[in-house]
Symmetry: C2
Subunit: 257 residues, 2 copies
């Protein structure tokens, strides 16, 4: 029987209701005081149960408004085609992808010279602390924060490709710009990790502490050495990364779903 603590019963009951689609039309959950009456529990107990759902990313709360079921329409990113010379794209891949999905892209951008951290230096095969060019993007979709992207280029590359260190956007895309300077990316190494956000990440992505982030680290290689290291931070609940490898017989684009 119900040996579960009461706050878990609250969370489980609400989770079942959410899964059943009860809040599909109106995402607002009952208020704390209504739940207190319904479950004959104290406010602390109800809040304990709700905080479980919040920490699982199912529900969000805001002061004065109440609790809401979070929508999760997942954005799928084909990482094996992204920035791949076999699938040429005009300019910024992010902008075209988002526009194609019928959403409105927006990004802020900055460039700085910065000493390489240990992690970056290791991937770029340069000395830790040596100067690198950092190009940083903060990207939005329909004005909702979507991802942050930081790309480091080794110092020797910036000397050969001066526009890298200039503040402006590179219209044709950096991959193509580098190729025009004889630096071609012939391979890359991707690392994908998930963890809970740091306070800084939670602020930039406007997510609660209960939503995981996806970390995507791509190290690009030319024929003879690493040429860049890109770290992208996504909202984990709204993004999915896909890889296509080899021959995919009869698989249509944008499938499944």
């Amino acid at each position: 029987m119900s040996k579960q603590p009461k706050y878990r019963q609250v969370a489980d009951a609400l989770r079942r209701e959410i899964d059943s689609g009860k809040y599909a039309s109106d995402p607002r959950l009952p208020s704390e005081s209504e739940l207190m009456k319904r479950f004959d529990a104290s406010r602390n107990t109800v809040r304990n149960g709700l905080s479980l759902l919040v920490s699982q990313g199912l529900v969000s709360s805001s002061q004065g408004l109440g609790y809401e079921v979070r929508s999760h329409e997942v954005f799928k990113l084909n990482a094996s085609r992204f920035e791949n010379l076999d699938f040429p794209q005009n300019g910024d891949a992010y902008r075209t992808d988002v526009t194609n999905a019928g959403r409105r892209p927006h990004q802020t951008f900055r460039v700085e010279m910065t000493p390489a951290s240990a992690d970056v230096a290791e991937r770029l095969k340069v000395d830790a602390g040596s100067t690198t060019v950092l190009r940083f993007c903060h990207r939005f979709v329909d004005d909702v924060p979507w991802s942050t992207q930081a790309t480091w280029y080794p110092g020797w590359l910036a000397e050969r490709s001066p526009r890298l260190a200039e503040p402006g956007d590179i219209e044709e895309g950096t991959t193509r710009y580098l190729a025009s300077h004889g630096i071609e990316q012939v391979g890359y190494f991707d690392e994908i990790a998930a963890r809970m956000p740091t306070p800084e990440e939670a602020r930039l992505l406007e997510i609660g502490a209960g939503v995981p982030v996806l970390l995507w680290t791509r190290t690009g290689y030319s024929e003879d050495r690493p040429i860049r290291c890109t770290v992208t931070t996504f909202r984990g609940d709204l993004n999915q990364m896909n890889y296509e490898i080899g021959t995919l017989s009869g698989r249509k684009e944008n499938e499944p779903r």
Copy 2:
């Protein structure tokens, strides 16, 4: 100025101490009552702060024992080599990987016939509800739950490869077994997502509610159609997925770190 609520101050102070390495030798945090004295706060306030750290996966707690800083030694899985015919492996890739890392593998295994869910049917291009073979693994490393892996094979494939539906292990590896029946996997499609665990996943992987899971869905294709769909669930904090694509000049195995 400390405009932050007190429970956040508690969390931030402890997070800074953790980052500084204060608990590297002894991972045990001060008890709640010590923290109450130190921050001049009530027990509930201290617990609020601690629960923030727990939900960020930095700290775990157990009744009677106290709070501990979670270690996070990350296991790196090279997904682009995993089960790839270009990199032949003897038998089970998981077992060899774990053994090579100096750890002790252990797994439980079961096979069942089951109707295809909508998700699986879509990926295997069979009718929803049609019979599939499900081979399910629950994997441990040094007796700590590590991952669950469920692979569905379409019914037509099981008829041609009878050992798939038999309960025993397939010593040489299923990829190789299928190849010996003329069914070669020539490509695959990987989907990677992160989310908070369901209660069932939290139970199987023995993780608290504050640790995200990584979901890895691999759909394998023969020359003419999908032949399998594998869904692997990892602890997100202890696993990282890597992909090598193209030529990686001068990159040594197991690097970075």
